[in-house]
Structures are given as structure tokens and as C-alpha cells.
């Protein structure tokens, strides 16, 4: 409960920017849109069946651009880390929406070319979070950064499954939407 409230407040805190982007996203659905190009180091690039891009068919996102998307956070432990941490970032669902993704499969790839694919429907749930901050700090590669697709394992027992663990891809840097 505590975690959820915390998420809500975070969500409300990001109210204005999110409102703007949401309006933009909803009105832009169905037709190609563009976003400003990333100014900083690109930490995540989205490609494939998307309608919103900021490059050559790619939506390349740096930390600042990610910060303009609706923010979400939760605190959880994982089987790969010691203790708990509060992870903040953008829900995969929100990112896909922002990107105007229309494909059926979401393919996610890590720096070390570890790759997983999941049905878009699974991606549209409340769970998967594209975290780029742990306890408010950017995550280095050594700390499974820059982006870690993480689930609220502590809050939702249903996520404590092998498949979810397999989908919890860290050092994520590419997302491709395919049909």
C-alpha cells in the first residue's frame, strides 16, 4: 500500500508534463509524429512498428526525454540484488503508448545482446517498469543500468515466476515492436 501511494504521488508530481505528453500522444495516435531529438546520451532506442519517432524510424530516448514521460516508481527486492530499492522510471505500457506502438510483439535487447520477446498485451499491464533510477540514482552498467525492465515482485506475487524473471532484462538499450 505504502508503495502504491508512493507511486501515485510520484505520478501526480509529474502531472503537468505528463498531461502535456498524454494529450500529444492521444491526439497523435494513428499518424506519424515526431519528438525532439535526444540531447544527451541515448540510453534506450525504440524501433519497429511505432508512429512516434525522433530519428530515422527510431525513437531514441535519453534520460531527459524519459523524464518527460509519465513517471512511476515502486520499491521491491529482487532475486539478483541485496535488500530492497525504490525503482523509478516509465511503465513499458506508457512508453509503448508514447511511441505509438501498434505491433503485437515487443522485442527487448540488452547491451550484451540478451534478448527477449513478449506479447504486446503482456507489456500493456501495470507491472513492467522501465527503471532508470534506483533509489533516485541513475544506474550504471555495473548496476544493471542504464535501463532495467523490472516488475513489482514484492507487491504482486504473480510476478514471482520464472518467465517474469526471464523478462526482467537489465542493461536494456533497444526495444523493437514487430507484428
Amino acid at each position: 500500500m505504502h508503495t502504491i501511494r508512493h507511486i501515485r504521488s510520484t505520478w501526480l508530481g509529474a502531472g503537468l508534463g505528463a498531461g502535456l505528453l498524454a494529450a500529444l500522444l492521444t491526439t497523435g495516435a494513428g499518424s506519424a509524429e515526431t519528438l525532439p531529438a535526444a540531447q544527451g546520451e541515448v540510453i534506450l532506442s525504440v524501433s519497429g512498428a511505432i508512429s512516434t519517432t525522433n530519428g530515422d524510424g527510431v525513437l531514441a530516448l535519453d534520460a531527459d526525454l524519459l523524464a518527460t514521460l509519465p513517471q512511476h516508481a515502486f520499491t521491491t527486492a529482487t532475486i539478483w540484488t541485496e535488500g530492497t530499492a525504490t525503482y523509478s522510471g516509465v511503465l513499458l505500457r506508457d512508453l509503448l503508448a508514447a511511441a505509438g506502438a501498434t505491433g503485437a510483439t515487443v522485442k527487448l535487447t540488452a547491451l550484451n545482446d540478451y534478448q527477449i520477446a513478449m506479447p504486446a498485451a503482456d507489456a500493456a499491464t501495470d507491472g513492467p517498469l522501465l527503471a532508470y533510477l534506483a533509489d533516485g540514482q541513475p544506474m550504471s552498467i555495473r548496476d544493471k543500468g542504464p535501463v532495467w525492465l523490472i516488475y513489482p515482485f514484492d507487491d504482486v506475487a504473480a510476478y514471482r515466476t520464472e518467465q517474469t524473471y526471464a523478462r526482467s532484462i537489465w542493461q536494456l538499450n533497444r526495444i523493437e515492436i514487430t507484428d
Binding site: 532475486i79 539478483w80 548496476d143 524473471y165
Partner: protein, 855 residues
Amino acid sequence: MRWLRSAMVVLIVLAFVAIVVLAAQLRGELRLLQEEPVDSLHWNVTQLELDVVRLEAAATLAQAVPMADLADLRKRFDLFYSRADTVTKGTMFLRLGLSETVTPLKSRMQAFLDDTAALIDGDEAALRAALPEVEDALGALRLDLRAAVIQVIDVNAALQDARRAKLSDVVQMIALASVALIALLLGLLGMVVTLNRQAGRRAREVQRITSRLAATVGTSLDAVVVAGMDGRVIEFNAAAETIFGYARAEAIGQPLANLIIPPHHRAAHDAGMERMKTTGVRHVVDAGRIRITAMRKSGEEFPVELSIASNDSPEGMIFIAYLRDISDARRAEAALVAARDEAQAAERTKTSFIAVMSHEMRTPLNGVIGALEVLGRTPLEPKQERFLTLARTSAKQLLRHVNDVLDISRVDAGHAGLLDDRFDMPALVATLVDPLRPVAGQKNNRIDVRLLGDFPPLQGDPFRIGQILQNFISNAIKFTEDGSITVEAEVQRMNGSQVEVELRVTDTGIGIAEPDQDRIFEDFVMVDPSYGRSVGGTGLGLAISRRLARAMGGEVGVESAEGEGSCFWLRLPLRSAADPTVVAVSDATPHQSQASPALDVLVVEDNETNRIVLEEMLHHLGHRVTLAVDGGDGVEKARARRFDVILMDLSMPLMDGWTAATAIRLLGASQHSRILAVTAHARPDQTDRLEEAGLDGWLTKPLSTASLTEALTRDHAAGASPATDHPLETFLDAERLDDLRRIANQAGLHRILQKFRTDIERTLATIDVDGETASPADLAAVAHAGVGAAAVVGASRLSRELASLEAACLVGDATAMKAHRAGLPAIWLGTLAALDTEIGAASVNGSDGTATGRG
């Protein structure tokens, strides 16, 4: 069955508990598998190795191209760093239980990372310079990592195997427990089905028995009434409805006592129920059949035969009464008793007719034989002598016939008059056989006597035994010629003083054909009538023998083969005499011409012929004779002077012999003389009356010289012992008392005598008080009741006196009535005293003190 069921239930519970426990365990295992999955060990360790290899490749590449960017090397390092960190800090090994095993791996990686991280994070030149060392370190790390990883995988494999085995075991055990549970449940189900079927069968059986029982009770001809402990009716069957007149619905729930028990029996019934409730003592219940009086709805009382059974029921003790209306049976019984009484009365009439006839025949016969005796002592011509012999033989034969018939009627009337004397069997046999030897010799027969066993003095009727034996021997002589006759006597001791005597008379005569052997013991049967007539006989000898033997509790019989001979036997139960010193020898055989002193004899006889005959006989025997023509004359003469012997005819007109004898005893010179009755009424049952009248003995007419001699001699020798000294014989009927003692115990006897005493005292009081005023008929009725009561206990004197009073009342003889009434109190006192002596003072003399009535 019950323990089996319990065992199964226990097993089922155990199996169930086992399944629950195992399921919980399984669930735990499954949750471990399901909810807390771990990262793939193989993936991670492979990635770890792969990351090292890639890092090593990056290092090699960086060395090969001196000016190349080191960013890729640094990224590879970071990726390995991250991987190592994940492996080191993640929960995977902890979850897999490999924390210990993985420690060397962790420390090896940590050592490398600690050494290398500073170089990677440092400036490029230093890093580039250290590249060869880094590459070497990486090579070493890769080898070590591989070895460590293989070990981890080995251990993990073993662990997973163990875990799977455990899981498999649990699943197997659950399966096993489930199978067992199912089997047990099926068994239980089978048992339930079986029990259910059994219960059904039992229910049907109970139903069947119940309906059968209901049908049985319902159709019973006897009334069946069931009552509870509270005495209320529970069941009342159809027969009960018919017998008692109540409808079933009417009877159910009512107190049994009010329904079927006559009011005057209810108190006893209630007391019985109460006694049973409190003490459990039962007199009627489960006591078999009893007869009581019951009552119908109409109030009519009737006799029933009843048996009551008790039974424990769920509602407590119940009583089942079976009742049978025996009114009809009672009526039939009464009719039967009446018929029997009539038949007995007819029989008595016949017997008394025969007795009277015998008297009528024997009185003239007495005259004939006596006259012939007298005639025989006068000088006769040879021809006259021959006719005289013929006449004598015929008269004696006729007398025998009369005696035989009389014997039969006596025994049949129960008046066999058996003696209970001491006697000596060998002497008896000898005295019987000896006189017959000459007769046997005439037909060239020899008589042998054989005594088998040691004969004690015996107690019994030697006269009757002798009569039977004489009959056997006479028959043997009759039917045997030129042969031998063996008389055998055998004794066998039984318990105590009981002995069994068998007398056998075996001859070598003509024998008896098989079909005739039973017949000869019947009345008037002669196998060869022509022969029988020629030897003289009525055909009653064996019939009398059999009657006498049976009267004595014995039996007679014959074994014979035609042409070879016969063996007649007599078997008798007897007692050995208590005192062996006094042995009376039977006088059954006459002793001819016995010398005896001359006596003064008074003959009291109304019949002139008899008087003359007696006179002649007595003269012939050398006695002095005085004659009296009737009772009065006799008394007068007896009082006038003393006679040694008085021969008294009993049947005389005016004053009879009884009265005369009593009168003589009262006073006069012959008060203490021997008085002998002479009578044709050969009724030994009157013996006591003889003694009571003061008579010392009796002679049966017609008299023979021999019997007369015997009687006179014996009486004379017997000395002075007045028979009247015996109160028992004066007042009581010993036989009757013996009967009473046989049929009742001491207490019963006392009760009977008490009742008798009460009855008689009331009778006597009534006679005493109302004697003057009451009508003769009423007085006769009172006396009659007394006669019966007195006869029952054998108070014979009293009974006779009351009978005389009754007779006097009926004919209206006032004088006699007065005389008999006056005599009653003394006789009553005597009777009481006699009973006192015989039975014991406690029984009769309660309050009156000692009665003095000894005569």
C-alpha cells in the same frame, strides 16, 4: 466384526491424516517450485564464463590494436562486473542451497574485480600498459571460474536430484496413502452395504417372527393374557375374549386383577404380586400348570388351568398367562367320578350279595357236614360207610367251591384281610408239603423240597402264602403221574429289611400248552374241564392265587412246555421280622386228634342243628358242654357259672352274639372266660369289632373237628391277655391309620387330625345340645356327617357308634337313640387317647388335657 470396523475406521483416519500431512508437505514443495523460482543457474554461470571470455577477447583486441579505443573493453568489464555482482549478490545460490559451495567462486571473482576495477577506471595509458597482465589474469580467472562453476553445477545437480527424489517420494506416498484410503473406504462401504443388508434381513426376520407370534397368539385355543409388572393387561388374545367375555380393547390397560380374578381371590393375588416385587419369590409364575378359579365378565366363576411365564422385555418384566377353561373337563371329571362311584357301589352290592349268599349256603352246609361227622362216629354198615364217604366228599367239595367264590369276592372287595405275622418260611413249606406227600404218593409222585438261601424270620401273611403254595402243589399232584414235584423256596435280601421271596413248584407232569398259560389265571378257567371235574375244582384256584399274590404286592406266573412239565412261581416282596426269636408257625395245616385237657364249654347257638353238631363234636373231643339257645340264655348261663370257653354264634335273633359277649364281659362268673365267635360271615375286616365286643377270636362255620380242636387248644394256651387292652384295636382302624401315614407326612397327618377333632367336637356338641329337641332326621344328618369324618381317620369305634345313632334316628327308636348318645363322650375320649398313643399327643390333645379312654 465390531473390532474390524473399529480397526478400519482407525486406519481410514490414519490414512487421511497421512494424506493431509503429505499434501501439506507437497504443497510446500510445490510452492517452492511455483512461487519462488530462481534464476537459471546454468544460464548465469555460462554467461559468467561467456562474459569473461568476451572480456578476455576485448583485452586481446585492445593489445593487438595499440591505438584502439578501450571503451569496448571497459563495457565488457562492466558487463562482467554486473554479471559477477548479480551472481554474487543475488539470491540464486542462497535459494538453491549453494551459498557454501559458491564461496570460492565468489572470492575468486571478487579478487579479480578488486584488482582490475582500479585499472579499468584509471587513465587509459596505465590501463593499456597493464593490458598483458590483465589478459593473463583473465586467462587464469577463466580456468578457475570453469573449475569452480563445474563444481557448483555438480553439487546443484546432486541437490536437485535429492529434491526431486524427495518430491517424488512425497507424491508416491500420497498416492500410496490415497490408494490405501480408497481401498479402506471401499472396504468400509462394503461393510456398510453388508451391515445394511444384514439389518434388512434381520428386520424382515423380526417382522416374520412378530407376525408369526401374533398369529400364534391370536389363533391359540387357550386364552393368552400378557400383563406388566404393574398388573395391567398388555395383550389379550381372541381366545381370551371368548373365554372371559371382554373385548380386547376393553381389557388392554386394565388391571388384570379386576378383570379375571374373582373378588375373594384378589387380596391373595395382590399379596402375591407384592411379594414378588419386593422379594422376587414366585409361587405361581414359572411354576408349571396350576388350577385356580377365574371370573368372566358376567361375574361367573369357573375353573381354569393356568400357567404363567415371565420374561424380560424392554418395558420391564412381563407375565404371560396361558389359561384354559376347564369347566367342561371338570364336568366330565365329575361325571366320571360319579360313574366310577356307581360302579363301585354296584360292585359292593355284588360283593355283599355273594357274602350273604355264602352265609346262606354255608349255614346249611355246616349242618350237613356236622351231621355227617356225627353220623360217621356211629356203627355203620360198609355200604352206609361208603355212602357216607361219598356224602362227606361232596359236601367238602361244595364247601371248597363256596370258600373259593367267597375268597374271590373278598379279595376283589379289598377285604383280603392280610395278616402281618412273623413266620418261618422253611417251616411253612414243610408243614404244607408233609401232609401232601401221601396224596402225591398215591399217584406215584415224589415231592422234593429245596431251600435256596438263608431264610430269616419273615413278616407277612403265612396263611395266604400257604394257600397259594398249596394250590400250586395240589395242581402239580393232579396233573403229574409217576413223576417228581420239586418245591423250591429262594430268598434274596434287598434294601434294609426288604427281602424278595420266590417260591417255585416244578412238576414233570403233562404241562400246559402255550396259549393256555395266561388263561389259567383267569376266573373259572379249566384247561381240561372234564379232568377238572373229575378231580374236583372250580377253576378258581389259580385266579385266587393271583389275586392274593397281587394283594400282597407280588406276582404269580407259570413256565411250561407241553408234555414236559410246568413250573409255577410266586414272587413276593416281604420284610424280615425284627425279632428273630419269636417264630409263629402257621396253623394252616390241620392237626388231627390233638390231646387237650377237658374244658367246660358253653355253646350259644340258636340253630338247633348247629347246636347239636357242636355238642357232639365237643363231646367227642372230651370236653364238657353246656348249651344256650339264644343270646339272653347265653348271658344268663355265663353269668351263673364260670366256663373255660364260650362258643358264641354271632347271628342270633333278639340278642346277637356281639351284645351277648359284651354283656358277659360286664359281670358274672365268666367275665374273664375265653369267648370265641362262631360265624358264617367269614369277614376278617370285623376282627377289630370282635375284640371290641370282648371276643377273643373266631371260628368260621362250618366247623371241623380239627379247626375246633386247634382253636380251643390255642386259646387255652394263649393265657390271659385280654385283647381289649389294646386301645388302638378298640377305637381305631390300624389299617386306615397306616394308609394315612403312607399318604401324608407328619405335618399333614396332624392337620387332618386337627380337622377331624374340630369336626367331631362340633358334631358331638350339636348332638349333646340339640339331642332332645332336634328332629330325628336332623340328628341323623348330623350323625351321618360324623360317621364320614370319623371313618376318614380310622376312628372305627366312634364311626360305628355314630352310625348306630344315625340308624336309630332313622327308625325313630328313641331308647336306642338315647343309649347311643350317652355312649358317645366316653368313646370320644377313648378315641382321643388312642390317637394320642398312636400319633402323638401334640396332634390331637391340644387343650383338653389327657383324655382317659383306655378300655
